[in-house]
């Protein structure tokens, strides 16, 4: 072993130095993502873009048809799917932000109320598969007068509701299913946010004689703002990619009168049930553009990039 490195050893050493330099290390660390992005995302995405300009009729007839698929997207069923998707996302956000925040504030209280049990109880629905949840919800919200929910409706003097036959009740069931599954998770996120707020802030506010409402508005709410942003972000993505809930509830991708068909449901229906692969790809591209647009608006709105830079 000599102290003087050989030529090859030198190159190796330089390579090592390069590999270990603080300039390069971050790239090495994000490499898994970049590889996975290129292989499992970018490449198939490009193929999808290509397909969206084709008419794939059958297995060996592929024809370039320009923007025809995109023009065909302008139809009522697709618009209905966009409407359902927007409404669903809107309602889930409207409920899944304030409600878990409220419950988290209660659970965060210093009084002994068995918070551990409640946290677990709210979280458990998240552990089940949509398939399992769908079985229960389909039965609970069944048309018949003896079904669970209609029994409760009757107890309050209401008529049995045909839950999955009309658009408003269907949306209510879909949102309920979503809230049931995600409430506990969002509570935990909010609890995390709440614990980052310094208790002294509350103490000094109490000494100033601030009411509970004032404390909530001026201390709690600003304190959990990052959590609210995060929860809204994941809810938007969750809402726009929703399909499994509808599928599990109706047992098929097709819903009567399109009342529960989402954009992803439409893509699935077109690509697989009706075997229009090119058209399905175009619908996918439309969804992609729509989500990108919303994402840009949202990021601008919340300034998510301005993290303690």
């Amino acid at each position: 072993m000599t102290a003087r490195p050989s030529g090859a050893g030198m190159a190796k050493k330089i390579a090592r130095g390069f590999f270990y330099s603080p300039k390069v290390a971050p790239y090495v660390l994000v490499l898994p993502f970049l590889i996975s992005f290129l292989v499992f995302f970018f490449y198939p995405l490009i193929s999808t873009v290509q397909m969206s300009f084709q008419n794939i009729a059958g297995f060996d007839e592929v024809r370039f048809i320009g923007l025809q698929n995109y023009a065909n997207l302008l139809n009522d069923r697709f618009f209905s799917a966009i409407r359902v998707t927007f409404l669903y996302t809107f309602w889930t956000i409207l409920i899944l932000v304030p409600l878990p925040l409220f419950l988290a504030v209660l659970l965060n209280s210093k009084r002994k109320i068995g918070a551990g049990f409640f946290k677990a109880a709210y979280f458990i629905p998240q552990l089940t598969s949509v398939i399992v949840a769908g079985i229960f919800f389909r039965f609970a919200f069944s048309d018949s007068a003896t079904a669970l929910i209609n029994t409760i409706v009757a107890a309050f003097g209401g008529e049995p509701v045909q839950w999955l036959k009309k658009s408003v009740p269907t949306m209510a069931v879909l949102v309920t299913l979503c809230v049931w599954r995600w409430l506990g998770v969002n509570i935990v996120y909010f609890l995390a946010g709440l614990q980052n707020i310094s208790p002294e802030l509350y103490e000094s506010a109490s000494m100033d004689g601030a009411s509970a409402a004032r404390k909530f508005l001026h201390i709690t709410l600003p304190g959990v703002k990052p959590t609210i942003v995060y929860v809204i972000t994941i809810s938007v993505y969750g809402g726009f990619s929703m399909f499994a809930e509808s599928y599990a509830l109706f047992g098929t991708a097709r819903t009567p009168g399109e009342i529960g068909s989402t954009m992803v449901g439409y893509i699935y229906q077109q690509a697989f049930v009706e075997a229009r692969l090119g058209f399905g790809a175009a619908a996918g591209m439309a969804l992609l553009l729509l989500v990108l647009l919303i994402n840009v608006v949202q990021l601008k709105f919340f300034n998510a990039f301005e993290t303690e830079a």
Binding site: S36, I124, T128, F139, V188
Partner: protein, 282 residues
């Protein structure tokens, strides 16, 4: 003093009542699943889910069916689900923590661009590119095996997002101290920063494993052999347009939930702490 005490108690009781009402809603489906799983499928068809449990019709026969390995692949599905979930979680944690850490701690060119790509992956439903992805799996020999299930989604974007948020709150002074001690960049990550991120690991382990355990769409495409399916896929074979097999569906659904609930109950406190401590920071 006494008066205020009583006022507090009323407040506390009403809080508990309110919280209990929500807890009831959260848990009641499990009660009904459990009750239904002890009744023959034809009962499920006949009376659905109603308030009357019909205890007189209880039987263990369907569990017997599920547990006789010759008659059902349930055991295979279970074992597969455990294996896929384990692999996905370990692989996912190792990769996403590094990516998230790099994005959260370092300032480098293209950092924001990469983060936008993470968000992009996070929001695109894979349904739109299933066919090219399927062809790729076959070309890579990932088809119908664990690699095909795990690898395409190993770099789980939400976890990257979370680790990025989490690590951006880490004390950067420690890195400088570590550099002075002669640690390389990777040494810094592994020796100093990683231990600090432990709570985030706990949280993401849950997130990734829950996602993997319940994932439906992708495994459906990439798995083919009946003995390689997962529990959600297996259960979905019992649902057909011309009648569902409730005899096996209900006990199968119950058993799919029970172990993960037990696991959760045993580790509940640590689970929660992980998620809570790893909370979202601005």
């Amino acid at each position: 003093m006494n008066k205020t005490m009583r006022r507090w108690d009323i407040f506390r009781v009403s809080m508990i009542l309110l919280l209990s009402a929500f807890a009831l809603v959260s848990l009641i489906p499990f009660y009904f699943l459990l009750v239904s799983s002890f009744k023959p499928g034809v009962e499920m068809v006949r009376s659905g889910i109603s308030l009357n449990p019909h205890f007189e019709k209880f039987t263990l026969d369907m569990y017997g069916l599920l547990f006789s390995p010759k008659e059902s692949n349930y055991f295979f599905w279970y074992r597969n689900s455990l294996a896929y979930t384990g692999a996905q979680t370990i692989c996912g944690l190792a990769l996403t923590s590094a990516v998230g850490y790099s994005l959260g701690v370092y300032r480098f060119r293209g950092r924001n661009a990469i983060f936008v790509l993470v968000l992009l992956v996070m929001m695109i439903p894979i349904e739109i590119m299933m066919i090219p992805l399927y062809k790729e799996m076959i070309a890579l020999h990932f088809f119908d095996n664990i690699l095909g299930v795990v690898l395409p989604f190993a770099v789980f974007p939400s976890a990257v997002f979370f680790f990025r948020q989490y690590s951006s709150g880490l004390p950067l002074e420690l890195m400088d101290a570590g550099r002075i001690d002669g640690l390389t960049e990777y040494g810094l990550f592994y020796r100093i920063m990683l231990p600090l991120m432990k709570p985030a690991f706990g949280a993401m382990a849950i997130l990734i494993s829950m996602n993997s355990w319940n994932s439906l769409v992708w495994p459906m495409v990439v798995l083919r052999n009946s003995k390689k399916l997962t529990i959600p896929l297996g259960l979905s074979t019992l649902i057909t347009p011309y009648g569902n097999n409730y005899d096996l569906l209900m006990p199968g659904a119950v058993l799919a939930v029970v172990p993960i609930v037990i696991l959760f109950a045993l580790n509940q406190r640590s689970f929660m702490e992980g998620l809570t401590v790893g909370g979202v920071k601005g």
